[in-house]
Symmetry: C2
Subunit: 144 residues, 2 copies
Amino acid sequence: MYDNLKLDNQLCFRLYTAARLIMQAYFPYFEPLGITYPQYLVLLVLWEKDHQPVNDIARRLHLETNTVTPLLQRMEKQGLLSRKRGKEDTRQRIVSLTAKGKALEERAKDIPDCLVAQLSDKMEDINCLRAAMPALDALIDGLR
Amino acid sequence: MYDNLKLDNQLCFRLYTAARLIMQAYFPYFEPLGITYPQYLVLLVLWEKDHQPVNDIARRLHLETNTVTPLLQRMEKQGLLSRKRGKEDTRQRIVSLTAKGKALEERAKDIPDCLVAQLSDKMEDINCLRAAMPALDALIDGLR
DNA sequence: CTAATTTATATCGTTCACGATGCAAAAGTA
DNA sequence: TACTTTTGCATCGTGAACGATATAAATTAG
């Protein structure tokens, strides 16, 4: 048995699992809003800065357009945003929030705190997670 | 603008991105073996201990059977493993490696090291990631 | 001013991930 | 023994992810 191939030694497995479990923990909060976690990420980007082309959103989320385009199409169908052709560059699709998309910000603003509270109940030291954020940033930066 | 809703403040986004980017980095190594990252995880579990029921594999990976069952079905079709009904409990499906599945261990044993080496080139402090592992374990344990 | 190339987005096919649900075998209960 | 509940696995439908590829507009080169 190679130590390298022990599940418990694998960082990626931890990241993969942690991400999935947090998304599951988010689910009950997103469900009443009719959105998913990746859709929430798109909204975060647009709440920060409205009217962005597909590419800028994709880059911000470290995703490819072939993931983001269908995501945006579904969100457009739900009436959360619009996708209009760019004026100077007609290849671009400028993504803008609708009133419905904007309104969700108010309803979503407390969700992260709810999750942190929920986590604090379950683990004694929540700050060790905050402490890990720079390491993750370095990793992401290295792999981009 | 709510600070809570800034993408850069979100731990889950980092985990989600880091996991995806590492899986992408794994891809060129897995592709010649004809497997995917989740399939690799299943193999890790079976290389550690062969002949396990679906439930044990699912629990080890923190996945539900409705994710693992189709995964195993695909792997069976590829000839990596077999799924036989349990003897004492006929509801169970005992998953066992085939010769082909076992043989992959030898070919996969150096992949984690390759990835670490690749990462070391790209970021100066790779140990800060190892240091984050206990925090991730605590998080996963809290969310289970 | 064409022709080659790059860029922005989209489509396609396959594999996950997962909530909801179904079903049959096993275990517990009356 | 008959009935209920639990357990183990599976199916279904939807929404991601993503590698590969396509298409049209913009840019660059010749």
